[in-house]
Amino acid sequence: MTDTTVQAPGAAPIPGEVTTDKRARRSRFRPKGSVVVMTLYLLFLLLPIYWLINMSLKTNAEILGSFSLYPRDLTLANYAKILTDPSWYMGYVNSLIYVVLNTVISLAVALPAAYAFSRYSFMGDKHLFFWLLTNRMAPPAVFALPFFQLYSSVGLFDTHIAVALAHCLFNVPLAVWILEGFMRGVPKEIDETAYLDGYSFPRFFIRIFTPLIASGIGVAAFFCFMFSWVELLLSRTLTSVDAKPIAATMTRTVSASGLDWGVLAAAGVLTIVPGALVIYFVRNYIAKGFALGRV
């Protein structure tokens, strides 16, 4: 750490701004895209979603009785039912609780680890990094039953923390990988200058380093949130009543009555909302997140 030249932090490029640069760059030489292709593709993507929204605004009688491209008899009753019936809306609350818990735990343990991987080499670091990746690739189906038994035996079955911990299986490796990708973009000279200035590690990490990789933390949080939110198999296996997620509530309703399409569609629409709300903020980093920080 002593043999490298020390450089003023201000002279170093700040990570995160590099990517926004790309967006602003204009070119007369790049081949132009086709509007027709994009329109068709977006239509293909949005049509099924539109249909779900359309159904959620109809009454059951209209859904089954007549076929129409838009709701003739616009009703919000399906949404009202979900938002007033505790067995429905508690599903959302449960999901949100374990998703937030999971995001917090994942980030808290992943931040120091990602820093270690991006800055130091130590015994077994490469093997450890690979081992983390294998957990991201582990099929949840393999872990469903052992998780059920593990959490039952320690008395955590049907609690939010059980699902949050189970989702750490794939979210912690993901967070480590994404954060490591962002941290690699921060020049090491910043660390060294700070240590020379007499910062201790925790103080440096919180005061100087964290603000520098704020966008990376945001992206990692978004991806943890998302993958925990979309997962069904583990969250369904580990809960029965008290922590039952909305996803499980929906599947059980299908098998039980199989008729209340309007409410089912409304519940589906409401699960899309959280993702759709935050997606705008991370739109330029989505590719990087999906590529595990490797773009």
Binding site: K22, R25, A110, L232, A265, V295
Partner: protein, 290 residues
């Protein structure tokens, strides 16, 4: 970046290690435990050796599921990768419309997987779904709960709908990183559109495309929720993929021994592929000099 050797960095990794050990190693050991034991109930177990493994290797059930799984993964890769590249090439390059497309394209990626299943379950129904209704009116017999072909098409189209955007986003990120000078040089040489794609864009996208291919392969290899909601693995066993079969065996029938042996072999396949993934990626990183 050359890294400093520092063994104390282990302390920073320790929390991750403990957490992942709790959520991965302990459950995995339970699986190993079951895979070599048999039971007559009442928690009495006895040693069964490798019996379950040889049983599973002899059973048609696992090989059939594996075969279906490989066909499924192959088909969706063959569709999603070219389609994703094609979409990425046609995306607006900057400004408002680029953001607009990015946000809309990411939407399917953020929908809970069972809702994806529900959306297509509704969309494909002949009585209430737009797709099923339209096909029916056009005189095409379409019934994904009865007909094997229709079930497969529905599951494949659903996956294309769900994940093509991921490939497109990654390819787009790769395209954005190509410096202008490359295109300028191609223009001066009067290169054809195909030549630009073949000799500039494709090589520059190779890294991200590798990630896209392998991510799609892994995720399709452990697909569970979406086909389960739409077809429930049916008609018959036509869309029963590895994960669906495994859950059926482990939680539905509670055949712990065979299910555990199945799990371990399934996991080994994934490990093998992960290793290939990692090696290829590390080599690409080295080549790019990161």
């Amino acid at each position: 970046m050359n890294k400093t050797v520092n063994q104390k960095a282990w302390f920073l990794v320790l929390p991750v290690l403990i957490l992942v050990a709790f959520s991965a190693v302990i459950p995995l050991m339970t699986v190993v435990n079951y895979s070599v034991q048999d039971t007559f109930g009442r928690n009495e177990f006895f040693w069964a050796g490798l019996e379950w493994f040889s049983d599973m290797l002899d059973s048609d059930r696992m090989w059939d599921a594996l075969g279906r799984q490989l066909i499924f993964s192959g088909v969706i890769l063959a569709i999603e990768i070219p389609l994703g590249i094609f979409v990425a090439l046609n995306m607006p390059k900057n400004g408002f419309w680029a953001s607009f497309c990015l946000v809309l394209m990411s939407l399917p990626l953020l929908i809970p997987w069972n809702v994806v299943g529900t959306i297509w379950q509704i969309f494909g129904r002949v009585d209430i779904g737009l797709l099923g209704y339209t096909l029916d009116k056009l005189g095409i017999t379409y019934n994904y709960t009865q007909d094997i072909t229709a079930a497969w098409i529905t599951v494949v189209v659903m996956d294309v709908w769900h994940w093509t955007s991921l490939v497109a986003l990654l390819a787009y990120a790769g395209l954005q990183s190509i410096p202008d000078a490359y295109y300028q040089a191609a223009k001066i040489d009067q290169a054809s559109r195909w030549a630009v794609f073949r000799y500039i864009e494709l090589p520059k996208m190779a890294g991200v495309l590798m990630i896209a291919i392998l991510l799609r392969f892994m995720d399709s290899f452990m697909i569970y929720t979406e086909p389960f909601v739409v077809t429930g693995g049916g008609p018959g066993n036509a869309t029963t993929f590895l994960s669906i079969d495994l859950v059926k065996m482990a939680i539905g029938q509670f055949d712990l021994g065979p299910a555990a042996a199945f799990s371990l072999m399934y996991f080994l396949v994934i490990l093998l592929i992960s290793w290939v993934f990692y090696t290829v990626m590390v080599n690409l990183d080295k080549r790019d000099g990161v």
